[in-house]
Symmetry: C2
Subunit: 512 residues, 2 copies
């Protein structure tokens, strides 16, 4: 076990850490409370709004309006609410534009599910987590970075722990040299420098000569066993591995603010959030209502939609909240301004795609001690996600590909479902030998081909953020807008929530 | 969202990562399967063994013997099996040597529990996880490192994400300078150097001039909200914070091989493992059996023990497996060799201590978006642990102190329970303002004062590992030995398992 005293002694020289804490004043400052936007207060004047689109943005907006006693109805084209925040289970079917339908041949078991859309919630996404709390959606930890997961390094797959420890070691070794070269650019004493060198040695797992020669952080070549001999750590990887971009990427992604621990997931699937919102809204949500056109009227707008029975209906309202993805909105028959239509059509959406397999055996746990997390490959599959739930169960659902590069995703989307599965099984085999024989019952979602999304998430250019972003956020006559694309957190449920709150502020303004 | 292509482009120059992967050959090598010791095959000859001590080592050994059809009985002094692998819940009582008894005033709720002993399982501890799997003990993720947790840096508490991002940035900046100083000590081309500088900039979150000027990895000064303006990242902490040993420690502990993600915990408390083992052993385990003395006999050994009814009993067996902590074994009335008694008495055990509070409100989640993980303080409390389960529930149990420095622990242990709670509440208040008013119903365990442990875990010196470790592992006549102290994983349940397997190999040898 770690010895606290030894560590502190190791880090700080005589008079070290404790003394430093006691004598240095007000350097860090108290951490600000996590930024916490909130739903705006709505006037309780019973105003009427029609919401189009039952993804997170539309559902959240409708719930807040309902809470304020407004008269609200929500039209959702699909048979259930949630939009891209979808969970697939045994028996479900997916149909992309141009088909064919994929029916999922998995058992009905609470832990056998696949989130083809959002699949993780950062702990600081306070909006969406607030709704989980208020609506009683149970949450559990999602493992985003697992040191046992694999990286497809030059020469073959290695455990992420080895990549992480070796990079850290090599960087610390270079940093000690940089420190010697007067690198800090701060007035420091010789004693401070000695202390910093010591700290870098500790941080990087270096030896007494400030060299990285391997470390148990990189895992064991010979692990602790029943014998008398001590365990032996792995030796460092060939330093040419450092020339692989894949390696640096895998070693850094979980540093990103939206990828850091703790990450969360609803127990049982991401759609539990939308389901809880829809349940709270009850009759307010009309599913199977496919909107056809929007037209302004004297005192609002008229929405034409087709119901599940094929009948075309019309509904007028003083205000309409359009909570549809931009590519869907762009293709709708509307009387929006030319500027808006152009801006909507010009906004690029990621073509991201995912594929899931059923495994009859949780080979990643049994054979490789991988419990959750993500493996990285330079092949098309890009990422493999292991479930953070159902540990040690008989079966498991494995995300066999999470592709977010548009070119790769386009290549993937162009294949029929069976060909995608064959290709992704081969990609997985390069990480886990025998993988292709372990996986079955694939299902894939290429978001660009999903009829009610036509893309995964908005990807604004810097120029568009300056010109089109303010325009698209603004209401236009009776029309108001919400959706992840109208936020700085595109592709996240939190972005949808924030955009809904912004739209509510507009809807709460004086009625004409 | 992250753009894979952009990242790879950013990391590797023209011809970069993909090309590197394609052209470099066999650098990494396949990762070895996780080291996997196993229980030895036992002869199915019905031999008889008496096991003393129902912690993990004794339980595992007894289970394997039972599976092999041996005649086994296990004597456990406490009213239930588990030893230090204990879970405390509402209504339980703890009594240290010299008292007073502490009775726990929490509600009976599945998520309100406290593991005063082991509280996490590394994913590569295949022995203990194997028993969890075989016995159907449900597992869930334990968050060991949470970037939202706090570090008591000079100047006040800061979120770990800020410490991590800033250290990474400063170290990367120094490393770029070290690289310039020819630091890599490898034959590299100018193009390679440029690529490595680019990789270091990406890895450290540096700007185009290879300077660290803050980064969203450190969190937001102004987070993404409903407004038009983009979020703004935190500025770097005062670099003098780097002189704090606490900061470097907090930023590195989760790199350790036994502290890396994924870490696991049994759903409902660590004692679920021992309970499952005891259930499988059923009548084999005699609880409330306090062993008094051990004596060799003509054909084995005689164990004298006192039962719960006060009666003193004797039991003879050809072989006895002693699975007690070294300090307890050292105080027992035995006829061990002088060398063994001396070695047992000379082995230092950590004095580690823990304290838990009930909180009527999960203020760490509500106020600070902390879901699981560990905050660090330079005060006596040392670490605060937030529960990785029961998210958003009404109440929570918080580990208000995990002290492993012997001097601090001795100071803590000397206080009566109420005084410990007052002191730890004040320590917590320095991390979470208002903490002292939020917490109540404390319970603490100072392991040095627990009568059936007399310490938390063995701490071998290097010299003892050479001389006394081989001696203590060896059987002595009818006596065989197991326990975490007889492994390279002291303080871990896995160490207890490995020691049990080693003892079984000895017990499986030819009978006299």
């Amino acid at each position: 076990m770690i010895t606290r005293r030894a560590l502190l002694d190791g880090v700080a020289a005589a008079g070290g850490a404790r003394a430093a804490i006691a004598t240095l004043a007000a350097l860090g400052g108290l951490e600000a409370t996590p930024t916490r936007a909130a739903a705006p207060d709505l006037p309780r004047d019973g105003r009427r709004v029609l919401v189009v689109g039952g993804g997170i943005a539309g559902l959240v907006a409708a719930l807040e309006m309902q809470r304020a006693g407004w008269s609200v109805r929500l039209l959702e084209a699909a048979s259930q609410a949630g939009g891209r925040c979808m969970t697939l289970r045994g028996g479900d079917a997916v149909e992309e534009i141009g088909g064919p339908a994929q029916r999922i041949g998995w058992n009905a078991s609470p832990h056998l599910y696949f989130n083809p859309g959002p699949a993780r919630i950062p702990h600081h996404h306070r909006g969406i987590l607030g709704y989980c709390r208020a609506l009683g959606v149970p949450l559990e930890v999602l493992v985003n970075e697992n040191r046992a997961a694999l990286v497809d390094a030059p020469g073959g797959p290695v455990a992420l722990r080895r990549v992480q420890a070796d990079l850290r070691g090599v960087v610390a070794e270079l940093a000690v040299k940089g420190l010697g070269a007067g690198g800090l650019g701060l007035p420091v004493t010789e004693a401070d420098l000695a202390r910093l060198r010591q700290a870098l040695r500790f941080w990087g797992g270096l030896d007494a000569e400030s060299r990285y020669r391997g470390n148990s952080r990189a895992g064991w070549a010979v692990g602790p066993d029943t014998g008398l001999a001590p365990p032996r750590p792995n030796v460092p990887l060939d330093p040419r591995v450092l020339m692989s971009g894949e390696v640096w990427l895998a070693a850094s992604f979980a540093e990103g603010i939206d990828y850091q621990a703790t990450m969360l997931q609803p127990v049982g699937g991401m759609d539990r959030i939308a389901a809880a919102l829809a349940l709270a809204l009850s009759d307010t949500v009309v599913t199977g209502a496919e909107v056809q056109s929007l037209r302004r009227t004297e005192d609002g707008a008229r929405v034409t939609w087709r119901a599940t029975d094929g009948a075309v209906r019309e509904e007028a309202a003083p205000r309409v909240l359009l909570a549809l993805p931009a590519p869907v909105l762009a293709r709708l028959d509307t009387d929006f301004s030319a500027e808006r239509r152009e801006a909507l059509a010009g906004l690029h959406y990621s073509q991201a795609a995912k594929l899931a397999f059923l495994a009859e055996r949780r080979f990643w746990e049994e054979d490789a001690a991988i419990y959750g997390g993500i493996s990285w490959t330079g092949r098309d599959a890009t990422q493999l996600w292991y479930p953070s739930h159902g540990f040690h169960a008989a079966k498991g659902v494995l995300v066999g590909a999470y592709i977010w590069d548009d070119d790769v995703a386009a290549r993937f989307a162009a294949l029929p479902p069976e060909a995608r599965a064959v290709a992704m099984a081969a990609d997985g085999d390069a990480l886990h030998s025998g993988y292709a024989r372990e996986v079955s019952a694939p299902v894939s979602v290429a978001w660009a081909r999903m009829p009610r999304a036509r893309g995964a998430w908005a990807e604004w250019t810097a120029a568009q953020r300056t010109r089109e972003y303010p325009l698209l956020r603004e209401p236009e006559g009776p029309y108001h807008f919400a959706g992840e694309y109208l936020s700085w957190l595109t592709g996240w449920q939190e972005g949808a929530v924030l955009s809904a709150w912004n739209a509510l502020a507009g809807l709460a303004g004086p009625q004409r």
